[in-house]
C-alpha cells in the first residue's frame, strides 16, 4: 500500500464502491464542487454579522450553535454539535483539533493546510500566545487565552469581537470584514 500512487488507489476504491451501489460518482462530484465553490468562510461571516447586529440571535447562537446556523440553512454533514464561543476583552478563544483536523465545515468550509499541520496542532496548545503572535495578534496579558480542542462530536467557531468604528455598517458590510482567521481565533476582525 505504501508504494501505490494515491490517484490509482482512489480510482480503484471509487469504482468498486460505485459498483456496489454504496455511492454514486455524481454525488461525489456534487460534494467536491460544493466545497470548492460554495461552502466557505463567507457563511460564518454572515452568522457573525447577524450576531453583531441582533442580540437575540447572538444569544441563540451562543446557546445552541447548530440550531442557530441552521436558520441560515447551514448544516454540518456529520451531525456534529457546533459550539460558538465569544471573544471579549477578557477572554480570547482559539480553536484547534489536536488529533486530526475537526473543523466547523458548515460555517467555514474545509480547513486550511496550516490548521491541519503538526506544528499548529501541537503548538496551539503548548504555546498559544506565541502562535498568535506569529499570526500577527498580540494580546494583553490581562486577556485570558483559551484553547478549544475540537473533536468529531463537537466543532468550535469563534464569534470575534466587533471592532470599534463599525456602528454605521450594514449587516452585509459587516460580513465583509469578518475573516476566516478571526472565526478560528487566530486573528481579529478589523475595521477597514
Amino acid at each position: 500500500m505504501a508504494n501505490e500512487d494515491p490517484a490509482i488507489l482512489t480510482k480503484a476504491l471509487e469504482s468498486l464502491l460505485v459498483e456496489k451501489g454504496l455511492v454514486t460518482s455524481g454525488r461525489i462530484d456534487e460534494i467536491v464542487k460544493s466545497y470548492e465553490e460554495d461552502i466557505g468562510p463567507m457563511r460564518g461571516a454572515q452568522v457573525v454579522a447577524k450576531a453583531w447586529v441582533d442580540p437575540e440571535y447572538k444569544a441563540r447562537l451562543l446557546v445552541d450553535g447548530r440550531s442557530a446556523i441552521a436558520e441560515f440553512g447551514f448544516t454540518d454533514p456529520h451531525g456534529a454539535e457546533l459550539v460558538v464561543t465569544e471573544n471579549t476583552d477578557d477572554v480570547h478563544n482559539m480553536v484547534v483539533c489536536t488529533l486530526c483536523s475537526c473543523y466547523p465545515w458548515a460555517v467555514l468550509g474545509l480547513p486550511p493546510a496550516w490548521y491541519k499541520s503538526f506544528a499548529y496542532r501541537s503548538r496551539a496548545v503548548s504555546e498559544p500566545r506565541t502562535v498568535l503572535k506569529e499570526f500577527g495578534l498580540e494580546l494583553p496579558e490581562s486577556t485570558e487565552v483559551r484553547v478549544l480542542d475540537s473533536n468529531s462530536d463537537i466543532r468550535y467557531m469563534v464569534l470575534p469581537k466587533r471592532p470599534a468604528g463599525t456602528d454605521g455598517m450594514s449587516e452585509e458590510e459587516l460580513a465583509g470584514i469578518v475573516t476566516r482567521d478571526s472565526m478560528i481565533g487566530v486573528g481579529e476582525a478589523v475595521c477597514p
Binding site: T10, K11, P77, P112
Partner: protein, 124 residues
C-alpha cells in the same frame, strides 16, 4: 492525461514554524478532491458513522507522525478510508488489490499509447 497540479507546498516537510500559504487551494490535485468526496458521500449514504472514519484518520496521522513520515494529509485520509472500507466489510482486501492492479495497468497502457510515431500491437 493526469491533471495533477505540481505544488511543492503539499510536499513540504513539517517544520517548527506554522506553514502558511496565501490563497491555498482547497485540493492540491484531483485525486484529493475525489477521496474527500468519496468519504463524505459514503458517510452520507450511511456506510459508516463519521466517528469511525475520524478515528481512523486520527490513528493514521498519529502513526505517520510517530514514524516521521512525510505523507500528506490526504494520503493519510486515503489510508484511513482504505482501512475503514475493509474494516467495515464494505470491500474485501483482495478485490481492492485486484482492482488497483487493473487501474494501474490501464493507466500504464494509456501512457504508452501517447507520443508514439510508430504502430504497436495490441493484445486484447
Amino acid at each position: 492525461m493526469d491533471q495533477s497540479v505540481d505544488n511543492a507546498v503539499s510536499n513540504m516537510p513539517e517544520e517548527i514554524a506554522i506553514p502558511r500559504v496565501n490563497g491555498e487551494l482547497v485540493f492540491e490535485s484531483p485525486w484529493e478532491a475525489r477521496v474527500f468526496g468519496l468519504a463524505v458521500a459514503l458517510h452520507e449514504q450511511g456506510a459508516f458513522e463519521w466517528k469511525i472514519f475520524s478515528q481512523s484518520l486520527t490513528d493514521e496521522i498519529a502513526s505517520a507522525e510517530k514514524e516521521g513520515e512525510s505523507s500528506s494529509y490526504y494520503e493519510r485520509w486515503l489510508r484511513a478510508l482504505h482501512h475503514v472500507t475493509t474494516g467495515q466489510d464494505l470491500l474485501a482486501t483482495r478485490e481492492i488489490v485486484d482492482r488497483t492492479k487493473e487501474v494501474q495497468d490501464q493507466a500504464d497502457h494509456e501512457h504508452d499509447d501517447h507520443g508514439h510515431d510508430h504502430p504497436h500491437h495490441h493484445h486484447e
